[in-house]
């Protein structure tokens, strides 16, 4: 029974580790579906994390903090949106710029907030169900943000594949010239998608600083933004598969921590490499099927759009 007793907390921790990846990857998925590649997820997450934390500490409300994080993520994504959509800048370079800018800006904003503790978010316990063995805590004893992230999976799927707006967004991402010829506002739709992606990245960051750690430190995200970008490829642009990927990476992250905790003689730094190595391995496994990537990737992904061209 000891193994089973250990499994419960591991599953619960896996769910929380997956949550920031879920927010960020679902946001990036919508952005990429509209034909825009935003490599600034890491930077937007950091800005969301620090602004969310600052807002929560200042107002004393985690709800305000979370909303503040989302707003901050959307605000910096707007800079990216203006550059690539209105000023036709290279998307790869602009995304990298956003990440570098976000790293610096978050450290600058956060200098007064390092080391301040923050109360944990309350867990939403469901009487009876939370006490279930093994899965009880994982499924029914998490804070509200974990459920919000889970809720976003069907919500994004429904929006993309079962609404008219989602159809337009996908059309813009698949064939920008045809969508433009049909009278769809290519730039407007993409800008909204970029803002949504920014808000989701901001939420991912705010979840880290408000609930997961909960604290602010420079470079808090530790590459999770990049893992989220990789998850979108892993998921071949399908929301449900993002969930699978996020759980997988949450699992690797937690497994690595637990191996360290069990006192197995492996240097901690080598174990900490696991999530990054897992990302590379998973990317390789998915990407080797060129036909599948080509079939699923939005056809206009990363292309500059100018209506006169």
């Amino acid at each position: 029974m000891t193994e089973l007793a250990l499994l419960g907390p591991i599953l619960a921790a896996m769910m929380t580790a997956a949550t920031p990846l879920l927010f960020a990857a679902l946001g990036e998925l919508v952005v990429e579906k509209s034909g825009v590649l935003n490599l600034g997820v890491e930077g937007m997450m950091l800005v969301g994390a620090v602004c969310g934390f600052a807002a929560a500490v200042t107002t004393g409300s985690s709800t305000v903090g979370f909303i503040g994080g989302a707003a901050a993520g959307a605000a910096v994504s707007a800079v990216f949106g203006v550059l690539v959509l209105f000023l036709l800048a290279n998307q790869v370079a602009t995304g990298l710029a956003l990440t570098l800018f976000g790293i610096g800006l978050s450290a600058l904003i956060g200098q007064g907030f390092v080391g301040i503790p923050l109360a944990d978010l309350p867990e939403l316990n469901v009487p009876g169900l939370t006490d279930l063995p093994v899965i009880g805590k994982a499924l029914f004893g998490q804070d509200a943000l974990v459920y919000l992230a889970l809720f976003m999976v069907p919500a994004v799927h429904w929006f993309l594949f079962h609404t008219r707006a989602g159809l337009k967004l996908r059309a813009v991402g698949e064939n920008q010239s045809a969508a433009h010829a049909l009278g769809y506002k290519v730039i407007g739709i993409r800008f909204l998608a970029v803002l949504f992606g920014g808000a989701m990245s901001g939420m991912a960051g705010a979840y880290l600083s408000l609930s997961y750690t909960p604290m602010w430190a420079e470079g808090l995200t530790g590459g999770r933004g990049w893992i989220a970008v990789a998850l979108v490829v892993f998921a071949t642009w399908k929301p449900a598969r993002v969930l699978v990927g996020a759980w997988l990476f949450g699992g690797v992250t937690i497994a690595q921590l637990h191996i360290q905790g069990l006192g197995i003689e492996v240097p901690s730094q080598l174990l900490s490499m696991l999530p990054y190595i897992a990302t590379v391995v998973v990317l390789v496994v998915i990407s080797r099927d060129v036909a599948r990537i080509r079939l699923n990737a939005p056809a206009s992904l990363g292309k500059v759009f100018h209506p006169d061209a």
């Binding site: 370079a93 570098l100 800006l105 240097p267 730094q269 590379v280 990317l283």
Partner: protein, 359 residues
């Protein structure tokens, strides 16, 4: 309806190609002025402390060259890849592996009375280390179609953890009271100083050689021509029979090797040992340097000096104005944003007001 619209130019404007980096620098300074004002500093004094005071002495100019050295080395390699749409953004990791490999050689011969050959051996090891680290994304891209952007970046995190492991384990100074640092390198493992009174070391010469080599490669060789064609029109390159895979390998190995050499330059130069943090993000800043320099070797040399100034200015601002060092990153990010924003002027004219009736 819209305030402005963009009218494509017949051909790219040469004037704008060179004017926009200057415009971007001016806009960054203007934003810096506002930023310092918002933070409650006297902006003129702050900008002076950031951009002028640090380089008002020979020593300061030496620091500029010192910090430009790794930036230029990394950026030359990256720029050649960017020309071919090979997006190696893991130079930071390749630099780290170069330091691990080159430093390993220095430590292996510690106290053995090594001769003049030690430094060249360290450099070769560093180049090999950087190449090896870049070879992984190259192989995964060529063989499995995996995005080199993501794999090279993931490997950067792995490299930094590996460095941390090495200085806490195999490389740790046995007489160092368990500090995570290696021994101080011996004289034979330290790069000679080029200009007395500064910390400018032999690596600066290698950076200049890389600039010259990069220019020859891109302007005067068939391989450079292939790189440019693949970057501009991959289809045409395919019809011409240029091997894209070969170019990916070449670009990755070249940029990895140069980054590895930059890593050796840091540990055998200003640092003089292996520590957990050997680079304040040179490999990432080199991406900005490459773009700011218009992916041209001479431009990269100038851009490298400018970005080096942002590092030194950040350090000076930290001491003089007690600003966080992170302000360097804000300036660097802003500069790249402004550059990318103004780049539109190269290929388009901005027309204000609504569209006129078709002519």
């Amino acid at each position: 309806m819209s305030l402005f619209r963009l009218e494509p130019r017949g051909e790219a404007s040469k004037t704008m190609l060179y004017a926009t980096p200057l415009l971007a620098v001016a806009l960054t300074l203007a934003s810096g002025f506002l930023l310092f004002l918002a933070l409650g500093f006297d902006p003129v004094r702050a900008l002076h402390a950031f951009f002028v005071a640090p380089v008002s002495s020979l020593r300061g100019l030496g620091e500029l060259a010192l910090k430009a050295t790794p930036l230029v080395l990394c950026a030359i390699g990256l720029s050649i890849g960017f020309r071919a749409n090979v997006w190696n953004i893991g130079a930071e990791g390749q630099l780290t592996l170069g330091a691990i490999a080159g430093g390993g050689v220095a430590l292996a011969f510690y106290g053995e009375g090594a001769g003049w050959w030690l430094l060249p051996l360290m450099m070769l090891a560093g180049i090999a280390g950087g190449m090896l680290w870049a070879a992984i994304p190259a192989f995964l891209r060529v063989r499995f179609n995996a995005s080199e952007i993501l794999t090279s970046l993931m490997l950067t995190y792995v490299a930094l953890l590996l460095l941390n492991y090495m200085v806490n384990g195999p490389y740790r100074d046995p007489d160092g009271f368990a500090f995570p640092e290696s021994r101080l390198f011996e004289e034979a493992a330290t790069l000679p100083i080029l200009i007395a009174g500064t910390r400018v070391h032999l690596g600066a010469l290698f950076a200049l050689l890389a600039v010259a080599g990069g220019w020859v490669l891109m302007a005067r060789t068939f391989i450079g021509f292939q790189i440019k064609v693949i970057g501009l029109t991959p289809q045409a390159a395919g019809y011409a029979g240029f091997s894209q895979k070969r170019i990916i390998w070449l670009c990755m190995l070249l940029s990895g090797g140069l980054a590895g050499l930059a890593g050796v330059g840091e540990i055998a130069g200003p640092i003089g040992q292996i520590t957990p943090s050997i680079s304040p993000g040179y490999g990432f800043t080199a991406i900005i340097v490459a773009f700011l320099g218009r992916l041209h070797p001479l431009g990269i040399l100038l851009a490298g000096l400018l970005m080096a100034l942002s590092f030194i200015g950040g350090e000076a601002a930290q001491i003089e104005l007690s600003l966080p060092k992170a302000i360097t990153g804000v300036f660097q990010g802003m500069l790249l944003f402004f550059l990318l924003a103004t780049d539109v002027l190269i290929r388009y004219r901005v027309r204000f007001g609504a569209r006129r009736a078709a002519a």
